[in-house]
Symmetry: C2
């Protein structure tokens, strides 16, 4: 990870446009969990890789992630990310859009350097899935017709696509057998879904000191996530009118968040959502079976449990 | 070009997110000149290419171009493009950012399909140069210290990088000799610079019916382009104070555009800018020398002259 961090520092520099490292350093400096690059390194090493292209791929994956965060904050008009003001607030939307584009291009350069067309294919497809998922989320977010199937599709796009690409390219660069590459993909896919469901659940039950977000941000931003989708699916006519007003029409008033939480409690949707997250974490650990018996496999196993351990 | 257009239509579709083709169709439907994909086709055919990867590359180049237009309009807060309302006005900034990302990912998929790492390398580098140029423009645009060298760097980034990549990949896919590939790059680079200088000049002397822009948009948006940079370089103290107020501080009032035009007339900077554009067009035509004697070479020659023929 030290080598990855050094590469990230080097490649995010720009001779001509000092605004670029300023913005990126703010975000990278905020110290995300670096979960995605770690997955790439782990996957490559688990499959016995001995070269150094996995470091480039890990940095690639983190650059793609950072670029999407920058663009997300513009799209969400967010003011806070990882407990700090967002780049679009500190600089402006322009900087977030353009620096995001720059990081995406840099990621692209890095992956070309690995010389692996298969890796390029996987990451190009993941990028398209991510972008498509973001657009889908934008149009589906406040639409009460959004059901669990659409939610899953959005989650696969916005989160799981990069997780599964991160693990898959680790296996591909190590020239692992097809069965292992598929196992790595399946693990990343399920881990990403568990991770995102946990994130959406914590929006309603986390405390802002830990998550860096305020309880109910998704409700205020009129985002239909799993806890609400499950409540909408069981809603009485009156309750449906409540969701239509607050989410679809965005006419929110004092006490609405409390009412929303009461409806989620009525149908125990937070607990049902937690069960879904646990199930996806279990799917992730089971996917690891075809992979070599190795301390890293155990670490990936523990990671899947950790991702949902924050839930209660 | 028909095959390119068909491919563009097919690839801009999205099963899951209908907003994507909506936004893209608006822009693609507005009928840009399709200059960049045409350059790729021309370069490949001029070098005797007989496969069909040049069609994918031409669509790639147009997707990159369209993606940057979508993001530019967010950054510039533009209301009009090609004489029609911009996507960010018709939908919202979110759609422009995310659909731009989607098109960029799609372009990336298309170029991976050609299986040429050299092509990928060229386009990855061009993408990074474009993004860097955009950031540089954002920070340099209203800074009176911006001189002709910085302007040229911005122009290379925002315009010429994609022109030169468009012509270069045409030669590369045709496996043309190094000397011809270099000639194609040099031609695209000089053509792109001539094109952008002409565009910046027409902002001050074009009529909006032809250009789809209003005279003086760049002045109002406080963009330092060549006609102004040349006037600032020769400014008296009083004139410098005028440029500082109107461009750097953005405190514009009634009559300022007329005053700016008067200062450009005083130093004949529009004519000097036109001469620069003509010189770059001439550089472009001269770059063609090492290429095969072929009707397409003549067409590229005529194109360079055409780009500056709008100037008077």
């Amino acid at each position: 990870m030290d080598a990855v961090n050094t590469l990230i520092q080097t490649r995010m520099a720009s001779k001509h446009a000092p605004r670029i490292p300023e913005v990126t350093a703010h975000l990278v400096g905020a110290g995300g969990k670096r979960l995605r690059p770690m997955l790439t390194l782990a996957a490559a090493q688990l499959c016995g890789y001995e070269g150094d292209h996995h470091i480039k791929l890990a940095a690639t994956v983190e650059f793609i992630h950072t670029a999407t965060l920058l663009h997300d904050d513009v799209v969400d008009e967010s003011g806070q990310r990882r407990g700090r003001p967002t780049a679009n607030l500190l600089w402006d939307n322009k900087s977030s859009v353009l620096v995001g584009d720059y990081l995406f291009s840099r990621s692209f350069q890095l992956m070309v350097e690995t010389g692996s067309l298969r890796v390029l294919d996987i990451l190009a497809n993941a990028s398209a899935t991510i972008a498509e998922g973001e657009v889908l989320q934008m149009t589906a977010a406040s639409n009460l017709a959004t059901d669990e199937a659409v939610y899953l599709q959005v989650v696969r796009g916005k989160t799981a696509a990069l997780f599964s690409a991160a693990t898959e390219v680790g296996g591909v660069i190590a020239e692992a057998p097809a069965e292992q590459v598929k196992a790595l993909f399946d693990y990343g896919d399920a881990l990403g879904i568990a991770f995102q469901i946990a994130d959406d659940l914590l929006d309603y039950q986390g405390d802002s000191a830990t998550t860096g977000k305020n309880v109910g941000d998704d409700f205020r931003e009129r985002k239909l996530t799993l806890p609400v989708i499950k409540a909408v699916a069981q809603a009485t006519d009156d309750e449906r009118a409540f969701w239509t007003r607050t989410i679809e029409k965005g006419q929110q008033q004092e006490g609405d968040l409390e009412q929303a939480l009461a409806l989620m409690a009525k149908y125990a949707t937070l607990e049902a959502t937690r069960q879904d997250a646990l199930l996806w974490a279990e799917t992730a650990t089971q996917a690891l079976a075809p992979l070599p018996d190795h301390p890293i496999r155990q670490m990936l196993h523990d990671l899947a449990e950790y991702v949902v351990s924050r839930l209660h």
